[in-house]
Point group: D2
Chain length 359, copies 4
């Protein structure tokens, strides 16, 4: 193979997990495979860290609503070092530290049917392996101030939060606005941090006083225990000047919270809807017509574009003290991926669940 440049010796084999079936953890198999041929515009990456997401949990369960490639290497997020580059690569060189994009083709602008078909760990091979090849368009430099593990938390949780706050150009969060975040999941923590970094105020909901302390240490201006205050929407409004409500809600829970979120948002405010980790609920969710009745904007979003990822990485580099990703202290090895999945599913983590890959 002479058609690419490298400064390191390239292994012949990659260790990797694959998703073989839809039986949950039993479908995860730890195997070996050949190093892929490197295309002209591809970059060979030695992967050092991976973070796990809710999406990774449901793919081996067969519950993921978009296509999954049979035998796919799982893993949505990863960070590592460039081993070699194809002959037409212009963006990277060997030795560069890189982090992956979830949607490999979503460079900028709106999501398209096309850009949505190349998700790592779903329709194309992901990051739970020692070495992978990715098109140069699907990678971004690791922010200087972050470790591989920290960088591996960015592609899904970080970018989703960034997009939720800043992705709608006429309604991007700015200094002085109020943002509501829900709980202590990855997206919510990033949203809290990003909001504080641009001078906004944050009201956070949570289920325990212990987590409330954690959120306050991260900078939350107000924390509401939603178990003690199930009708927390009106409490949120009270906490804002004039009782008008928050400018933006980062909605991660879905059915269980949307009603309170709609009660929290101000006139002409925004609810960024990024998932439904709260699971099902017997309560009827507000309908689309509620956007008119209560006058707000509800914006669904899926992760974000590479341009947004690059903006986010610049913001992190400029605020190394305020924007450190929160990683759960329990970090797993590549061989322990099943334990990592179980830990994520248990909900006991605080911060992102990560896998560190030794070489």
């Amino acid at each position: 193979m002479t058609h690419f440049t490298t400064t390191q010796s390239i292994p012949k084999i990659t260790k990797q997990w694959i998703v073989d079936g839809q039986n949950g953890l039993d479908s995860l198999k730890y195997t070996e495979g050949p190093i892929p041929d490197l295309g002209d515009t591809q970059v060979l990456v030695k992967i050092h860290a991976v973070s796990l997401n809710y999406r990774d949990l449901i793919i081996p369960q067969g519950k993921y609503p978009w296509p999954v490639k049979p035998g796919v290497v799982p893993g949505s997020d990863g960070a590592g070092i460039v081993l070699a580059v194809g002959k037409n690569v212009t963006r990277f060189q060997p030795g560069d530290k890189v982090v992956t994009m979830l949607n490999q083709l979503h460079i900028a602008g709106p999501v398209t049917n096309q850009s949505n078909k190349h998700g790592l760990g779903g329709s194309v091979d992901g990051t739970l392996r020692t070495i992978g090849a990715f098109d140069e368009q699907g990678l971004v430099p690791v922010p200087e101030c972050l470790t591989y593990i920290e960088a591996a938390t960015l592609p899904c949780a970080g970018l989703t939060a960034w997009n939720a706050l800043f992705g709608l150009s006429g309604k991007a969060v700015t200094a002085g606005q109020y943002v509501l975040t829900q709980g202590t999941g990855g997206v919510s923590i990033f949203a809290l941090q990003f909001a504080k970094a641009v001078g906004a105020r944050v009201i956070a909901t949570t289920s325990s006083n212990e987590k409330a302390l954690f959120l306050q240490r991260l900078g939350a201006d107000h924390v509401i225990n939603y178990r003690e205050t199930p009708d927390w929407g009106s409490r949120v409004k009270q906490l804002t000047p004039g009782g008008v409500g928050v400018d933006l809600v980062v909605e991660v829970a879905g059915p269980t919270t949307l009603k309170q979120s709609a009660a929290s948002v101000k006139l002409d405010g925004t609810i960024s809807v990024v998932g439904f980790v709260g699971g099902e609920s017997k309560e009827t969710m507000p309908s689309l017509l509620d956007t008119w009745i209560n006058l707000f904007t509800a914006r669904g979003l899926w992760v974000g574009s590479r341009l947004q990822m690059e903006d986010m990485c610049r913001a992190i580099e400029a605020n190394p003290d305020r924007l450190h990703p929160v990683v759960d202290p329990r970090v797993f090895k590549l061989s322990q991926v099943k334990e990592a999945y179980e830990y994520l599913a248990s909900g006991k983590h605080q911060g992102k669940v990560c896998v560190e890959i030794e070489h």
Copy 2:
């Protein structure tokens, strides 16, 4: 009264309708009243034309969900000529032709609790009278190319359509985009015209072939008869290149159409939700979570600001052939307001139902 300037003799009395009760048309009373004292920043307007809106129908029925002043003069929209101006008025002088704003205090930016409390014909006296006094901030010059009757169609229907298309800065309709409009009501016709004026393409739904012809003459690129194609969402997608769907839906009907609207819109597209003239439906409406499942933005909006109204008027002046408001041929006199309300309620009109006021 020496503290204002005028070039005309001012009548002592205004004829006016008032809303006396919540018994529907029986609550409308035709009376006389004194000319109001003119405040320092107010403008005295001889009203020449009024257009009627759905809102005007439900206010005397007691069904309007916001506060109504007892004995209010109804009428949301009006156009006329300035008779006199208060001593501190800077924006107008006697002889100017003006059109009213629905929300008298909404000058620019988002709707606020404050700006929302000064709606003509609801919380403050409206336009169904021969002479009224309005703060100069709540008036806009009539576009040169329009008659009083045409201008009177702008404050509610016109501005709502304008805001629906262009009000969300990151997602304003531009040349080449696809817009879906529903039916032949005032907002929908304006939306069709504005979309065509900026070079967009329009798919319109309607209930009859006769109305379809009318929509095509107004410039609709495609018309779908929703009686023949109840599942029209998928048909809309087929009509767009690549089957991706439309960039924007102007949602006026609500419960009866939102499901198909959500099926019509492209990834990262927008549904502007401006009302529910379609009435109730047994079908469950899409919930806010659908914005995430199908990836779109749903934006509720109420009319618009004076800055938007001024932009709209400039656009109309620049496109006198393409942007003529559509007025139903049956125009009523001030004494015939009840007939006008009945005609609007009948749904037989095509274009805005207007009242011309003789002096």
Copy 3:
């Protein structure tokens, strides 16, 4: 006068300065005048603090390029308490703390010929008096965390800086961007603070190492002494990652600095041009064609709108630690206005030069 509401006794007389001629300080006269009649939409304000601006210096010198009313009360900036309100006032009530807008009619949107004709202390009476009447549209509530003196620094210096950073919607400063500020004048210090408050990085120029320390304490990431590095444009580029240059320059000096500013800005970056306090220079300034040759946007701006002022005040309230206006320790009394002007002209101040008015 029964047509307005108040809770306090209103003095009969206001002390005031007037500009009588164009002989510099000799034109400033300290006089008394009657309390103005209060219009229906006006607010009577007991003024507690004023800050001075370069504009105030040149108005009595006859060098101001826009119209000045003969005998005008000078003073562009002021803050005080509401004594009484006209009968149609909706935005304020007696006891409210308010700060003035420089351009009384610029509520939102672009500057117009009309909105530009009502500048306090120039075409209409300003703030260097004990009591003044202002239209309610030309006032904004004082941010809760500020004193009157601090609030009085906002209308010119604060708002200009805010507009320079955030006023061009497609190019508003965000977290991670680089901003260049020049010196230690009022606008530059606010620009530095606002940039840091939203997570951007700041490179500041100055003329002495003492001022450099001051700028670093305010949060500047890098400070360049332009006396030691006259060719500082290339130094600025070196300080940015990849040597690409800064995203935004806040240009306050003009002829003496524009060449270096153009050398500092990145491709597709922005120079916000807000004045020429640097005075004349023998060097030829870059021409408009340089925006094409070096690919950047140069945006002239004059202060800002009330909507922007309100956004700025919210940002200040949300960041009371980071966004405290810097006031020079030497604060003057109303009778000492000439000394205050001289102190401002001397350039010895650090932070805004303010006048406190005792009652």
Copy 4:
């Protein structure tokens, strides 16, 4: 070569022009070369049409201010059909009609130092050849309603005009605004057409009454003969309501016109500076400080991004009657490229000078 897919037989040889030296037309050599190896993400294009630009004239003269590859194939613009695609190509397939991007790497967002180094016909091989290989990221589908020749006019002239009108998000041209265009060059004609297509009004300058007629037929609302009215800036202002000036100037001439352009633009308006085809002038150009004195924004721009190109192509497809590129009737063959360059240099053309390539 098995690593790409095709449905056609691929020639072995391409005819091509090269730039051999800096002696003007004498440096242009008509030669043959091998078909390039097709990279994994590259697309092999049989080129059917090329349009010429001012840039193409000065590259063989050695006057181009950016790097030029020795022996480069000239030609900035081209359109053709896909013959074959590399194995990793996702955006195109054989048989697709495509048009090239000038800056092959500028996909979206601001110009970067990196994206600026891959200009066709300058730093990388261009379009004056029968067959070329381009990365799939540097191509866009031809709008359905256009011929190859028409499509070949889009990448430089069309996209520059589009970016000039719509590229600054807060100041994009909308219906009702006034736009000033200069002369009958490629960018100016496109700017006129795009402005009219979105409902704006156009004032155009020109040098002869014959060209004035041509501009009026294209839709210009007003035409000013700048030979008869050298002080045309004030005339432009008179033509706008209230004498306020135009919202946007598309500045193509530079030194000879910028003074009048600055006199034409309204407060807070924009001058998009896209070149200096007017050549040198003895007059001093307005400086960057004039953006503050007269309150406007001057924005330099270079062509535009692929995302903008795609938006433009959608707009053209939606307005096939209004947005047909204007091609000079004299179309050249590939062997006549020197005559084509001479014709372009002569200034006698009206519309784009194009080369049609026979196969």
